[in-house]
């Protein structure tokens, strides 16, 4: 999740002679190659993103062949809608502020101090990020909801207040800040700060005048990403929001799925779209600003063992609350899953494989595990293909077209997943694209969310491959294709694995779109959890916790496997 670093590590131009390096063969040809590489991702996004979103907007705003723009005013003038919009904005701002405030000290500790178990802790801190939001919601429900741990011990319930939502958002996004800001911080040359100290700046003043400005762009990027994620939050709010709190995303879901008011949903989708587009424009602008030279050094050379009482205090003062925040919800989740009607045991887990007699499930909840894994595997393959081609096309940063394409690829992250899911249903239901009853619909929707992660992971690595390595291979007799296979591929393979892992975890947890298009007899894990939570009774609740635990374990295992292959040089996420 290091959103900033690689931008500054572009291959250095050789000294001496000649300018335009890498412009070996005719530029006309490379433009065609680039356009060719873009064709598949562009077509994918047009058909499976643009078309469904356009279809649902059209369906909502057109009547009798005429655009009904008056609807826009009607819907946006509705006080309830304004309330939802206001809540979406302020909770996102509050979540972002809270996440930054809690994660920044963590960034310092992880960047500048050495302590045993650091790698493991960093991995643990990233687990929440890949957890399905529904699972996070249910974990916070188990921690702070009715009959939750805090309720039992202290009589404190947070699920009726907005705090549960905010804390869940911090929990989810802590790693975004830690990876983005902390990753850069670890690479900042400490001697810059030392130079300021020697010139007479105090410790704090040196940090404020030297380190903070260097971190500012990555802080901005991290804040933006967190804001984006929390602004469009769905699963967490579905579980924790109750009747009082709804984001735009939740409201869109309610309007389409419950109230069947498509025009209202369309207007809300457009509203969210506009907000996200504005945010992404800011992001693109800040990325460009970030491409400035920083004095970077290998991350492992900047950390040292804590010395002095102040640093030890900082270490414990940061690690203990962080661990508490990150581990408590997960721990409680597992505890609730094991705490069955007859004491601790696997009763809820066993119940998962039993055929329910109710109408909630056509199949046993355990079947959702197999469904989810299969869907996520296919979605990962699609995301790797589309994202890999897009990243290859974007490797050479040049021109407005490429930058626009780059921003376009990020769009699904901020677009209402609910809209996409519903759009799939109404847009892809007639020949030649009649996929309504096809299983491939679910992986396609999940891949949409996975692609941005693949691109963000692959791109910096691809860009970091020195063109002169390719040239060295060419001079030694390797054809362009052979040079790619021999030089680029081995360097990129690692990033490819990491991208695959993230795409897999994200697909596994995708909820907003999947909830619309997965067939009732083939539910995914997050859907099964949501359904179980939606029903009363201790058995259902316990099964939801058990299923969430399984999902958490699968995601955590994926991530820990990744942490073994990842190096600091790989990727932005």
């Amino acid at each position: 999740m290091d959103l900033t670093r690689r931008e500054v590590a572009a291959p250095r131009a050789p000294l001496g002679g000649g300018g335009g390096r890498g412009g070996g063969r005719s530029d006309g040809r490379s433009v065609w190659v680039r356009l060719g590489l873009m064709a598949v991702p562009a077509a994918f996004f047009a058909v499976f993103f643009g078309y469904p979103v356009a279809a649902i907007v059209g369906r909502g705003l057109r009547e009798g062949g005429h655009w009904q723009f008056a609807r826009v005013g009607q819907v946006l003038g509705d006080p309830d809608v304004l309330h939802v919009l206001w809540f979406s904005l302020w909770q996102a701002a509050a979540s972002t502020g809270l996440t930054l405030a809690l994660a920044l000290p963590g960034c310092y500790v992880f960047a500048r101090l050495d302590f045993p178990g650091k790698r493991l802790l960093r991995a643990v801190a990233t687990v929440p990020f890949v957890l399905p939001t529904v699972v996070v919601g249910s974990a916070f429900l188990a921690l702070a909801g009715r009959g939750g741990l805090l309720d039992e011990w202290f009589g404190v319930r947070l699920d009726t207040s907005v705090w549960a939502i905010l804390l869940a958002h911090v929990f989810l996004n802590y790693a975004v800040v830690l990876r983005t800001v902390g990753g850069l911080w670890a690479q900042l040359d400490p001697r810059q700060e030392e130079a300021a100290r020697v010139l007479g700046a105090g410790r704090l003043s040196a940090w404020r005048r030297v380190t903070l400005p260097a971190l500012a762009p990555s802080l901005g990027a991290a804040a933006l990403i967190v804001f984006l994620f929390t602004f469009t939050s769905f699963g967490v709010i579905q579980v924790l929001g109750g009747p009082r709190y709804a984001t735009l995303e939740v409201e869109i879901y309610r309007q389409t799925a419950t109230l069947l008011d498509l025009p209202a949903a369309a207007v809300l989708t457009l509203t969210q779209f506009a907000a996200v587009a504005a945010l992404l424009a800011v992001h693109a602008w800040s990325v460009r600003k970030r491409e400035s030279a920083l004095s970077l050094v290998p991350a492992d050379s900047t950390a040292h063992r804590p010395s002095g009482a102040a640093q030890w205090a900082a270490l414990y003062g940061v690690l203990v609350p962080t661990l508490l925040l990150l581990l408590a919800p997960l721990g409680v989740l597992v505890e609730r899953a094991l705490n069955g009607p007859d004491g601790y045991g696997f009763a809820f887990f066993r119940a998962l494989s039993a055929q329910s007699d109710s109408a909630t499930f056509v199949v046993a909840p355990a079947a959702a595990i197999g469904n989810s894994l299969a869907y996520a595997a296919v979605a990962t393959l699609i995301a790797l293909l589309v994202g890999g081609l897009a990243a290859a096309a974007l490797t050479r940063r040049a021109g407005r077209l490429v930058r626009g394409f780059d921003a376009l690829l990020m769009l699904p992250l901020g677009t209402s997943a609910v809209t996409v899911g519903f759009g799939f249903l109404i847009a892809l239901d007639e020949p030649p694209l009649d996929l309504r009853s096809s299983w491939i619909l679910v992986p396609l929707a999940q891949a949409l969310v996975g692609v941005p992660f693949v691109v963000r992971t692959m791109l910096p690595v691809l860009r970091a491959v020195d063109v002169r390595l390719r040239e060295a291979a060419a001079v030694l007799g390797a054809s362009p294709l052979r040079a790619w296979r021999e030089v680029d591929f081995p360097l990129v393979r690692r990033a490819l694995l990491i991208a695959a892992g993230f795409a897999f975890a994200v697909s596994l947890g995708e909820f907003g779109a999947t909830v619309f298009i997965a067939r009732p007899d083939r539910p995914t894990l997050p859907m099964a959890v949501a359904r179980l939570l939606g029903r009363a009774g201790e058995m259902n609740y316990g099964q939801a916790m058990a299923l969430s635990t399984i999902l958490m374990l699968v995601c955590a295992a994926t991530l820990l496997a990744l942490e073994r292959v990842r190096t600091d040089s790989a990727g932005e996420f």
């Binding site: 001496g16 002679g17 000649g18 300018g19 040239e471 291979a473 001079v475 030694l476 007799g477 362009p480």
Partner: protein
């Protein structure tokens, strides 16, 4: 072997190579010498096919290379910073070109061992390239470039990043190696010492044009222009009016070597040709600074401020060097005076 014919390369409105012509004969070592930005690296890239020429021809063994991609030119190029493949070990790097040319596994292994022995790193096959020192990387890069037996080996600032003593040792080794192997070599460098030690012939470049070509000795003794003279480190250049066997300069009348062309409009006086005497004799100067150069001759460079004309450098031994601020007279040795044109 290699012929460049009026090769021109432009980057936007900057001309990196301006109608450059160059010949490299079989088994010859040619060194292109020039300051950074003079187009040296571009020259190598054009020959390797990594950079398209806007006009002109590149011929290898008499065949025009237009449209021939880099991997089919059969030349070797050692990059400025080596560009070893980081994910392969030393053996994998050296064997790369052999694999690309379809050499069998066991033959390749033998050739790799042979080359590593040749560059002084026997048995280093399994080492990771990231653990190598600069000099070792250098040797591996050389072995990698030599492995497929290129008809022309090109070296881009071959020793640029190494420390002085290592550089001096490697230059001698390289020259011996190229002679033994009979390799045709085209190298570029900004370091005159390196070029003179390595090359049979030196080509001095300036702003994308060839400023002078010749043997190291000829270029050193007879720089063709003020630019070449200054690039070689000679700063005692002064405008002159040439008459028969002497020249009128701001430093007074300077005797010229016999056979000086009347086109010359300035003269270079080598520091070793400036002899210091008492203030009553020759050009009257004040000693402005002196810097100790070290070396086996314990030489000192003395910076003089003459009563007329630009500053003058004189080389003398430590024992003879005057103190700063002293008044001295300067006499010029005609054998060390070089007339220059332009």
């Amino acid at each position: 072997m290699l012929r460049l014919d009026e090769v021109t390369v432009r980057f936007g409105d900057r001309t990196a190579l301006d109608a450059v012509g160059l010949d490299v004969a079989e088994r010859e070592t040619v060194c292109v010498l020039g300051p950074s930005g003079s187009g040296k690296s571009t020259l190598l890239r054009v020959v390797a096919g990594l950079q398209r020429a806007d006009s002109g021809r590149v011929l290898l063994s008499g065949r025009d290379q237009a449209g021939v991609p880099p991997h089919k030119r059969g030349v070797g190029l050692m990059f400025q910073d080596h560009q070893l493949f980081p994910q392969r070990d030393v053996g994998g790097n050296v064997a790369f070109g052999l694999r690309m040319h379809g050499m069998g596994r066991s033959a390749a292994r033998a050739r790799v061992a042979e080359l590593l022995a040749l560059v002084g790193l026997p048995g280093a096959e399994r080492r990771a390239v990231t653990t190598l020192s600069g000099g070792e990387q250098q040797r591996v890069a050389l072995a990698r470039a030599l492995a497929p037996r290129p008809r022309l080996l090109m070296l881009d600032e071959p020793l640029g990043q190494l420390d002085r003593s290592l550089r001096e040792r490697l230059v001698v080794e390289l020259r011996g190696l190229f002679h033994r192997l009979g390799t045709t070599v085209l190298a570029v460098t900004h370091d005159q010492g390196e070029a003179f030690a390595l090359a049979d012939r030196v080509v001095v470049m300036r702003d994308g044009r060839v400023a002078q070509t010749g043997t190291p000795l000829a270029v050193w003794q007879r720089p063709a222009s003020e630019f070449v003279a200054r690039f070689l480190g000679f700063d005692n250049v002064v405008p002159a009016t040439v008459r028969a066997d002497a020249a009128e300069t701001a430093w007074g009348k300077v005797a010229l070597p016999a056979g000086t062309s009347p086109d010359a409009d300035r003269v270079l006086i080598r520091p070793t040709g400036v002899r210091l005497t008492g203030p009553g004799e020759g050009l009257r100067c004040t000693v402005e600074a002196r810097s100790f150069r070290g070396g086996s001759g314990s030489s000192v460079t003395v910076l003089l401020r003459p009563e007329s004309g630009p500053a003058l450098e004189a080389a003398c031994s430590l024992r003879e060097a005057p103190e700063e601020g002293a008044e001295v007279g300067a006499l010029f040795d005609p054998a060390e005076v070089v007339p220059l044109a332009g």
